[in-house]
Each structure stands twice: as structure tokens, then as C-alpha cells.
Symmetry: C2
Subunit: 478 residues, 2 copies
């Protein structure tokens, strides 16, 4: 931990920063600083004296040099959409927020190389759109994509819906530009598919949550735009049947799977009850539902027929109870909405405790069954509403409060609930944070889950790259 610089030193520092970034690059109005100091989930309320918004990488590097010289810690912030308080400053106001919002240019996009070079402040949605304009696709999709910025997306190694096909954010990164803790710019913006020249630094910064440096730009891999998409919504008798269906789709046409999402009957029921115009496209409710999406850049590849073949066999053998294949873009969107509105529907139903966990894909049914039973034993009447990315083993195992219970009492049970869920996660060698990262919320869990040699290595790396602990203190490492 750094020694805090005295307040007057920070005031002098801010004056110096103003000469680098200008008035436009410096927000000191409490409206701005307070908003930047709190995360959207309202888990953490910090304080900061300024939000610095450099307009270029060089400006950002100059700001970091000034902060480093003054010994003032820095918190990098993009869209401030962290699920774990990864981008909020601490409570004592000693840290400055450095926003990447004005680094928002698409520097290059080449449809032959299938790469885009993009600055940290571009939103994921804008990046997706820039790719689509050139008939390419940035195959990364998360619910916060309208405000999440590329820098944050990479810093936390975002996952999302298409990981089953394309991997996580890190799998799309070919090159990075990073401002290091001493203000040096590392320009690693290479567009190469093969480059074995020393340690793979980019993968160290991806997922480091701003604790090793500030990502200012990246070269991302693109894929060709999908030209045929087939989506089915299926009811299944159990999570085990959902896994059986996954194996069948995989065996039949694995390369075409772009999403395989699981929803519980209860969770889907909450969506149907609370979300206007949500409609179940099947005649009868069921214990679990699956959304299967196939996609390919080749037009007329026969994906729908392919999907029908698998589903017919699964229906005949009772693995699937009923299924609807979307006949139009509108139907496809309606099916996806049943999945995407799960969080919102849970919110409207009352208090809920969230667990973003993963296990090996083959263990998902056992995990869901056992974690549900364990939570129901812990809190009678609790409602488990597991949903998420079954195809990559990442389940949002959320618990909704018992009907008529006290929401505040329920929220106070968050630690016992998380511990109960995590005990089952651990049994299956899973992860206590699949795609949301560690941030400020979960560093205390690191020693138990990633302790020993692993945490020791992480600490050595942190000390080697940020010896004074100036970058996003208190995040990731306990």
C-alpha cells in the first residue's frame, strides 16, 4: 500500500494535471466525482477529488507520470459497469479516477486481416457496430455492452453469451497498448496471429482489472458476420436432460453452436410474470428451458434443418419435452428476451443474492441439483433461479428471497448463501468468479481459493510491475 499523499499535494497535482489535459479533461464537480466514485450496483461508495479524462494515450501517460511522481494512487474507469466494484476509488478520497471515456476512436479495421484496432473508451456496442459495418463481427456480447468500454471489458476479461463458440475477451486480443504504473507507454499493438517473441504480456494485463497498468488500446480479432442464424427454445425435464441436449447438438454440429443457455422454470416464470409482453413460446411450463443458437457466416448452410434433426431425435427420446424454432427475427428476439430479462425479473420479485460461478460443463446438472438442495436446506422457502451459459459451464446461481420474507434479513444472509453455493462449486473444481472478476468485492476469497503458490505468484508479479502499489489498490489481491 502506498503512503497517502497529503491533501495539499493532491491539489497541486490536480493543477499540474490540468495543464496536461485541459479543463475538458478534468472533472472536479461533485456531481461528476460522486457518480464516478460509486459502482452501479451501489455496493461501494468511495470518494475522489477528480476524474481525469485524458484525450489521448500520451496525455494519459503524462497524467500517470504526474500521479506516480506525487505518489497518488490511480483507479482506471471505463463504463463503470463492474459487477464487483472493480472501478471505484476508496473511501478516503486519496485516489484519483482516470477515465478512458475520451479515448474513443476506432483506429483501424481490416476485413482481410480480420482485426480492429480500437481505443479503450469505445463501448463494446460501438465496437460491435464498427465491425458490422465492414461485414465482420466482434463476437463478444454481454448485457452491459451499451455502456461497458473496451478497456474495462479487457481488464476484466468479460465473457458473456458467445464464449461457448469464441472464448472470452482474452481469446480475441492480439495486441495491447498499456500505460504502465510509471507512465511509460508499452505499445504492443501488433496485428499478428503468430508471434513467439518472449513472454505473453498482453494476457497478463487482460484480466488484471487495472492493477498492473491502464489499457489504452487493443487489437482485437474479428470473425465474419453470421449470415444464417437458427434459434430454438426447448423445454426439458431436468438440468441433466439439458446437458444431454448439449451433447447431442455438439455431436451433430458443434462448430455451429453460438450460444447454449439454460433457464430454470422458476426463473422463466418470474420473467413471464414481471416483464411486459414476455410470452412462453411453448404450450406447457417445464422444470428447465434451453435456448440453443446456431450461427454461420455461410448463407443457406441449412442450420434450421440441422437443428430440427437434433431436436426431433431428442423429442422422440424424451430428452426434450417441447421445442419452438424462431421463424423470424422478431421471434428470435422474443426468445432471447426470456433469457436476458432474468436479472430484471428477479429484481422485481424481491431481494436476491447472486453467484457468478462456473464448473466443468459436464458437472452443471449435479452442481445445480446439489446447490439448490443445500440452499433450500439453509433457508427454507428460498427460490433458486439458476440460469446462464450452460455451454461454457458458467451458471448465474441466483437465490430469490422466500415469498413474503423480509428482504433486508435475506440480503444479510448473503455470506452464508455464497458459502453454501461455493462449497458445491469447490466440490466440482469450479470457480467462485467465472466472468465478473474479483474487484473490491471478492479479494477476501482469494486466499482460500487461489492461495499458496498461485497467490504468491500473483503478488510477485504485482510487486514487479507496480512496486509502489499505485494502480487500483485494494482490488483483486487481498
Amino acid at each position: 500500500m502506498p503512503d497517502s499523499a497529503p491533501p495539499h499535494a493532491v491539489a497541486t497535482l490536480i493543477d499540474r494535471i490540468r495543464t496536461v489535459v485541459g479543463d475538458r479533461g478534468l472533472l472536479t464537480d461533485p456531481i461528476d466525482t460522486e457518480s464516478a466514485a460509486e459502482d452501479w450496483r451501489r455496493l461501494f461508495k468511495g470518494r475522489t477529488q477528480a476524474v481525469v479524462r485524458p484525450g489521448t494515450t500520451e496525455e494519459l501517460a503524462a497524467v500517470v507520470r504526474l500521479c506516480a511522481a506525487a505518489g497518488v494512487p490511480m483507479v482506471a474507469q471505463g463504463g463503470n459497469t463492474s459487477m464487483v466494484g472493480g472501478a471505484v476509488p476508496n473511501e478516503d478520497g486519496s485516489e484519483l479516477v482516470i477515465s478512458t471515456a475520451r479515448l474513443n476512436r476506432v483506429r483501424a479495421l481490416d476485413p482481410i486481416d480480420m482485426t480492429m484496432t480500437i481505443e479503450a473508451g469505445v463501448t463494446l456496442k460501438a465496437a460491435q457496430n464498427a465491425a458490422l459495418e465492414k461485414d465482420c463481427m466482434l463476437p463478444l456480447s454481454i448485457s452491459s455492452e451499451g455502456s461497458a468500454q473496451i478497456g474495462g471489458v479487457l481488464a476484466v476479461n468479460a465473457g458473456g453469451n458467445n464464449t461457448v463458440r469464441y472464448g472470452n475477451a482474452r481469446d480475441l486480443v492480439l495486441g495491447l497498448e498499456v500505460v504502465l504504473p510509471d507512465g511509460t507507454i508499452w505499445n504492443g499493438l501488433r496485428k499478428l496471429r503468430k508471434d513467439n517473441t518472449g513472454y505473453c504480456l498482453r494476457q497478463l494485463f487482460v484480466g488484471s482489472e487495472g492493477t498492473l497498468g491502464i489499457i489504452t488500446a487493443a487489437v482485437l480479432k474479428l470473425v465474419p458476420r453470421s449470415r444464417e442464424i437458427a434459434v430454438a427454445f426447448c423445454s426439458v425435464p431436468s438440468a441433466a436432460a439439458a446437458l444431454d441436449l448439449f451433447a447431442r447438438v455438439q455431436a451433430h454440429d458443434a462448430a455451429a453452436i453460438s450460444a447454449f443457455e439454460l433457464m430454470s422454470g422458476l426463473g422463466t416464470d418470474l420473467v413471464l410474470r414481471h416483464i411486459p409482453n414476455a410470452v412462453l413460446p411453448l404450450a406447457e411450463p417445464a422444470p428447465f428451458y434451453v435456448l440453443v443458437e446456431l450461427a454461420t457466416p455461410r448463407p443457406n448452410a441449412g442450420l434450421r434443418a440441422s437443428l430440427e434433426t437434433v431436436l426431433e431425435a431428442a423429442l422422440a427420446e424424451g430428452v426434450v419435452v417441447d421445442a419452438a424454432i424462431a421463424e423470424s427475427d422478431a421471434q428470435r428476439a422474443a426468445i432471447w428476451r426470456l433469457r436476458e430479462e432474468h436479472s430484471e425479473a428477479q429484481k422485481r420479485e424481491g431481494a436476491s443474492v447472486k453467484n457468478d460461478v462456473s464448473v466443468p460443463v459436464s458437472k452443471v446438472p449435479a452442481f445445480i441439483d446439489e446447490a439448490t438442495a443445500a440452499c433450500e436446506k439453509l433457508i427454507p422457502g428460498v427460490r433458486a433461479v439458476p440460469f446462464g451459459h450452460m455451454g461454457d459451464g458458467n451458471i448465474h446461481f441466483n437465490l430469490v428471497q422466500p415469498i413474503g420474507g423480509d428482504p433486508r434479513w435475506f440480503l444479510d444472509q448473503d455470506h452464508p448463501i455464497m458459502d453454501t453455493v461455493n462449497e458445491v462449486v469447490r466440490k466440482y473444481d469450479g470457480s467462485f468468479s467465472a466472468e465478473h472478476g474479483i474487484g473490491k468485492l471478492k479479494p477476501y476469497m482469494m486466499p482460500e481459493w487461489r492461495g499458496g503458490a498461485e497467490l504468491d505468484l500473483m503478488r510477485r508479479i504485482k510487486d514487479a510491475i507496480d512496486p509502489r502499489g499505485l494502480m487500483n489498490p485494494g482490488k483483486v489481491l487481498p
Copy 2:
């Protein structure tokens, strides 16, 4: 650099090691130690007093602890197939070779998770076969796969023929088990597709060429086995036309491309001349040839028709001069042989200087044209025989000696030749080592290409993880 332990200390150490690994785990016969101390390209001839072959990870860790206590440096070795002398000990005999050859079990293979857990000493070929037995595929293919071992394959982040579709070795790694420089075992053998819990250590060890620790096992991603494969051999008027063809195949059916290989007319001519039974499947020779392979796990996906559609249009527009599509497995193998025998044919033609370089895919034609002209200017009569992985921008830009010239004189020109080629590589922001790594051959090039912030970061990481410099000294970092 470590201080060398005195010879008698090494003798004592070897005795201690014997008590851990037994006679079977310790080779001290000069026949064994000399063979392990030289690389197969015969670039480097080192010396070692023993080749240690532990039978388990625990044994290997105990050996590392003993070496660390004695201050004796260690060189990890798998199949000893490095192209850059990455696994040979130094000349003074002060380093011990630690072989992973006996860590050769497939610990697990799950066709639902699509993962295999495999020890470092399994050959890549054996790993591929183990996957195929379960109807899965390990989509990594390199010429040395029969002897290259998984540990080395990961340590050097091997690339090969299918990178255009599946990425490099690092893209297939979900988890690792590593013995650290102090002999601690880091068990990071997770099978998770999503796991955002701190720094991504596995990607640091992958590609570190044994300088940070010894990889003893890994969890690798598998993909479903290809059930339909279509291969075409095409003649094209220029490298630019080859790129045009790549863009066309990409636009038509990018997700199906599993290889896109370029060969020069001259290089292919050498294969036809020197390799028995090699036959050009086209009527006329051409300046360049392309091998296109499409593959999919879905049977009867119509890949051949898809390929024909693209080729017909390309033929009509003069982008392709002639093309043959393989009608049988035998024809497919014969076409692949024209590509795979390039190195052997060059060897038989005389002395040659190799450059394993990459540029962005879109720059491949300009790079080939300019590098060819520059080399011909440097050495009149030199024969440029570029070939390789056009789909991922990795060209083996090899130069064969002038006809009738002195091979020894030509080999002495290796540095001027490499410098000439690299000047063009640099112009296109390419890499001087695309898939072969740095090893002992190329550390001297690191300051010029990866100097400044990047090399400084690498050194800090090396010092943090291997502070005494005991792991594979003299490799990667200058």
C-alpha cells in the same frame, strides 16, 4: 546468471537426485547426455552431467528442490525438437537436463467438457490420437508432432497448420500444472471455460520456453472431430492473387477454413524434383500455389460444393489459374505432401537459410515481393522459396543457395540474409519469430525488436518468478 556450483557439488547433487528418481530416472551415460545436450538442427552442442527423467510431478518437484538448494541450473527438455536450441544446456556442463519423457499419461479425457488432462511428456501425436479415440480432435498440427512433447509444445506456444482456424497452442490451454523454480508445484489444472480469479498465470508460462518453471501437465480444449474435409490445390499467378483467394474463401465460408497454405513455384518445383512420387496435380506449373482445406464436424455439410463455388468464380476472374479438388483420402494426402516436404526438398537442394516470420495477413504479398527482391539484390542467384501459413500471416521465408555456389559461404551469409528479410518484416510490423520462439538462437534480437518497456517488463517478471536465474538460463532473454 547463477554462480556455477563446483563439480563435486554437482556429483553430490546427482547422488541425491538418484535417491528420488531411481536408476531409471537418471541417465549419465555419455551416449544419453551427449544426445540430450545437442539440438536436432545441430546449431548448439552443449554438455551436461546428467539427464534426469522423473516419473511423476512430485518426483520432478523434488528434483527441482534439490537443484535449487544446490544452486544448479536446470534445462527442461521434451522431444528436443526446438528449432532455436531452446532445450539444450550450455557448454560448460554446469546445467542439468530435466526430461519430461516419463510424464506420459493422459490423465483424463471428457468428450462433453471437450477437455483432456495430459502430462508434459505425451507426444503431440499421441495426444491427437487419444482425442480421436473419443471422437474429439486436438486441433494442433506441426511437422514434429511425432516426437514433440506437450510440455515443449506449450512452453514454446507451437503454431502450425491449423492456427487460421483454432489459434496457437496457447489458445487451447485451459489449465496448467507447473513446477516452479523453488520446486513448489502450482496445480492450476482447471477445466473451466470461464474463470476470472486473478492474473492469468497459465498464459505467462505458455511461451516462456522453460525460463519460469517446468510445465508438467495441462488441460487442453478439444473440438469435435472433423467429419467432412475438402482440400483443393490451386495455381495462382501471384502472392497477391493468393491473398485475393483467401479473402474470397473467407467471405464465402470463413468458419470452415482449417488451413490456407501458400507455396512458391520454385519451392514446389524442388519438391517435385527431390521427393519420390511427388506429383503436381495440375497441368501447368505456376508462380505460386495455394492449398485450401475446409473442414467441419457436421457430416454432409456440402463443403466440396462450397469450395467449388468459390473456385469457379476465382477461375472465371483469373484469380486462380487452375485447381484440383482431392477426390479421396489418398489425393488429399498427396496434396498435403507437396506442402509438408518443402523443408526436406530444400535440404536436398543445398544450403538454405530459414526465416520464421509473420506479418499481418493482408501484408503477406507485399512482404514476399519486397523480401524476395531485397535478397536477390543482396546475393545474386539466391532462390527465395517462401511457403507456409498464409491464412495466419506466418511465412517460412527460406532462401536456397545459388545453383553451383559454395554452401559454406552461403551459410555464412545467414546474418546479412536474416537482417535483409527482417527489415521488410519490420516495415509491416511483423515478428522475427512467428512460431519457433527465441531459444538460444535469437535472444540477441530481442533488444532491437522487443526492447524498451516490453523487455523491461519481461525481465521484471523473470526476476520475480526465478530470482536466481536457475531455469533454462540464456534462453529467451538476452
